[in-house]
């Protein structure tokens, strides 16, 4: 008998589940009261994401369902009491709204009964019902447009807007922004402008005056992104009372720690840690305190052996920011691991012991491994090896493939210093555009000293990556080699390739390389004449 009593008690205790308004309306009610999910969630003692789930179609159950229903009911009463005038007008917009909005409302997120009573009660919900679902779906994806149930004044033009981007109410279509159709007091959507379909609901990037936003998890937030370079420059100028030379000297002196701070800042939220003190194999260690290590960086030092007869005008071209561009290279992330055998893994980078192939084009193109006097195997870095492999491939076929004997490699990425590089490059471009020599010198000192001291230098004790230093330098040399090859390919005569950034060519180089100060452009260092003039009577 007790069993049946228990069942009876259970039956008596079981109540009908409280009906809840459809999902889209739940959100509209909360937003109508200007309550955030967090506030509501705290009151209901659930997490904000749970509330978000309820507002996108899930249903609560049990005690919390009753609480939620109580809140929704209260919110509805309060809204209808506080805004009696707005409702009928908005109900009209529902009638006047585009007919295709109906099926969208009854779309996947909102179940069948979504429409009727919700839209009768809240006409303004209708217009944004589809957008609201789009916004909910956007929470999971990369969409950051949220449809508002009640129009709020646009932050840009002040008129009512039905969407908010990153928490700022604004018009999605610039055409609507600024057309004086309604006064902000009537909380109405302009009937002439049907709400844009969610598919096209991307915010247009506004140039100038916009608030920069970044992703924070699934949401957006305003970018907390101090421009370290500009701040340092203006602080230095202030400190030295506008004395440009003194400010430049002060900035150059602190370039290394500032570059490290910038690196830290650009790696925030990055996928990989910067490992500053890895174990390094012996090939990367200096043999003596002053001597070099065993890595061959393939620095080009090549001069064409002979020129055809005649007099030529040689232009010495200078590659702008060669080390800055070379920061984009495949850098090993973790500890270097040893491997042997003639295989190259494109996902890894490091240093390799190779026997370089013979180079038969020395008469008109520099050797990609530089001016190496000793024969035999040598340790080269990833950029040099990739250059050789590419040249030995079917597309170029300029040499045999190099023979790899052993390698110290680790999984690599090209993006490790990418934000760092872009930050410096942007600052450099801005400085050039505004003729700002202080920033230009500062940026130059930052990247060049960063590269030169990232190994075993006493001037930068925060980063001991000899391998990266070699790789970045080799990348600069490989980039120069490709420039020489391009000049050769386009019909110019390459005369010299030397150092990191110097290329001497004969011919109409302006057709090949753009001239300027940007990193993808070249500038003229020198123009000189070489050769003996052909005597006019020699032809006779």
């Amino acid at each position: 008998m007790t069993d049946f009593d228990a069942i009876d008690a259970l039956l008596a205790g079981a109540r009908q589940e409280v009906p809840l308004p459809p999902a889209a309306e739940r959100r509209a009610l909360r937003e109508g009261l200007n309550l955030s999910r967090t506030q509501l969630a705290r009151a209901l003692q659930v997490s904000p994401s749970t509330v978000a789930g309820w507002e996108s179609g899930r249903d609560p159950s049990g005690e919390v369902r009753e609480k939620y229903a109580y809140f929704l009911k209260g919110a509805r009463t309060k809204l209808s009491a506080s805004d009696p005038a707005g409702k009928p007008a908005e109900a009209e917009t529902q009638v006047a709204g585009p007919p295709e909005a109906g099926p969208t409302v009854a779309g996947p997120a909102v179940a069948g009964p979504a429409g009727t009573d919700q839209q009768h009660r809240h006409g303004d919900e209708h217009g944004s019902g589809d957008g609201g679902d789009g916004g909910d779906g956007g929470d999971g994806g990369d969409e950051d447009v949220v449809a508002l149930s009640a129009p709020q004044p646009c932050v840009l033009c002040g008129r009512p807007a039905r969407h908010q981007v990153a928490g700022f109410a604004q018009h999605l279509d610039p055409a609507h922004c600024g057309t004086p159709e309604r006064t902000p007091t009537t909380r109405q959507a302009p009937p002439a402008a049907p709400p844009p379909p969610p598919a096209s609901a991307h915010p247009r990037p506004r140039t100038g005056g916009g608030v920069k936003v970044v992703t924070a998890g699934r949401r957006l937030k305003t970018a907390d992104d101090p421009d370290l370079i500009a701040a340092a420059v203006s602080a230095a100028l202030d400190q030295h009372g506008g004395d440009v030379e003194a400010a430049t000297a002060a900035l150059v002196r602190r370039a290394i720690p500032d570059a490290m701070a910038l690196l830290d800042q650009t790696r925030k939220g990055g996928r990989y840690d910067i490992v500053a003190h890895p174990w390094l194999p012996d090939v990367l260690r200096k043999q003596t305190s002053r001597g070099p290590d065993q890595i061959w960086e393939a620095r080009p030092k090549w001069t064409r052996a002979e020129l055809p007869p005649g007099e030529f005008e040689v232009t010495a071209l200078d590659v702008n920011g060669a080390y800055l561009s070379a920061l984009k290279t495949h850098l090993p992330l973790g500890q270097l691991e040893h491997s042997t055998g003639n295989q190259h893994d494109r996902r890894r980078a490091g240093v390799h012991l190779i026997t370089p192939p013979a180079w038969e084009h020395d008469a008109y193109l520099p050797n990609p491994i530089g001016s190496r006097d000793e024969p035999g195997p040598l340790w080269v870095t990833e950029p040099t090896l990739r250059l050789l492999l590419r040249l030995s491939g079917p597309k170029y076929g300029l040499c045999d493939p190099p023979e790899i004997h052993e390698s110290w490699t680790s999984g690599a990425t090209e993006g490790l210093l990418e934000k760092f590089r872009v930050a410096l490059k942007d600052a450099r471009d801005r400085a050039i555009a505004h003729d700002d020599d202080v920033t230009l010198e500062y940026v130059k000192a930052m990247y060049s000293k960063f590269v030169s001291t990232m190994g075993e230098s006493n001037y930068n004790r925060e980063l001991y990556r000899t391998d990266w230093m070699h790789l970045i330098r080799s990348q600069a040399f490989a980039n120069l080699w490709w420039k020489a090859h391009r000049a050769y390919d386009e019909g110019l005569m390459v005369v010299r390739a030397m150092g990191t950034d110097e290329l001497h060519v004969i011919g109409d180089w302006r057709a090949v390389f753009p001239e300027g100060r940007g990193v993808s452009e070249v500038k003229v260092k020198d123009v000189y004449t070489v050769g003996t003039p052909v005597a006019a009577d020699r032809d006779v």
Partner: protein, 191 residues
């Protein structure tokens, strides 16, 4: 996770004790004379360092270089050459005195007025461990603020004290899995 590994390397893991890696790095930071003691140049450099002042002579004597001043003079002038055993003594005494002398400055640099130094823990090498026995041991970093005991133990050349200081002043701050970092491939930091 046992806190201390009893039988390290039984399944093929390779690494060194954390304190050994620390001592190695501190030695690298201390900057000894690079030329070996067997070369004339290296010997002279060490002897000059050990006989620079009365204090350093005393320190050298305390560190085990118990030869008379007359012998030292003879070595310095090149009239006599130290025996192999004495070369060894010179080397150990030089290292001990040098460590004691730089310890103060190293502590100051590493503590950085309380801001501490970032230390990288490169986990042990499991490449020779059978796959089912391999464990995920991640690369970790830690800011170590108090270096006094660590450097003191290193300067005194006391391996046990250095081990204790390293474990209890630094490694335990890694959290409950600190035992995984008792053995490492490398400890990276700079001063």
């Amino acid at each position: 996770m046992p806190e201390r590994t009893l039988n390290f390397g039984a399944y093929g893991a390779r690494g060194i004790k954390g304190y050994e890696a620390v001592a190695r790095q501190l030695d690298a930071l201390a900057g000894f004379v690079a030329t070996p003691v067997t070369a004339r140049r290296g010997l002279l450099a060490r002897l000059r360092y050990l006989t620079r002042s009365d204090q350093s002579r005393q320190a050298a004597r305390a560190a085990g270089l118990t030869v008379t001043d007359r012998t030292l003079r003879a070595w310095l002038r090149g009239e006599r050459n130290p025996s192999n055993r004495n070369l060894e003594r010179i080397e150990t005494a030089y290292r001990a005195v040098r460590r004691q002398n730089v310890a103060r400055y190293l502590v100051a640099r590493l503590n950085r007025e309380g801001r501490g130094t970032r230390v990288e823990f490169h986990p042990l090498n499991q490449s020779q461990v059978l796959r089912p026995r391999q464990r995920v041991v991640a690369y970790r970093t830690l800011n170590v603020r108090r270096w006094d005991r660590i450097v003191e133990a290193w300067a005194a050349g006391d391996a046990q004290a250095l081990d204790d200081a390293w474990i209890y002043d630094a490694v335990v701050d890694l959290g409950s899995e600190w035992g995984q970092y008792e053995y490492v491939t490398n400890i990276g930091f700079a001063a």
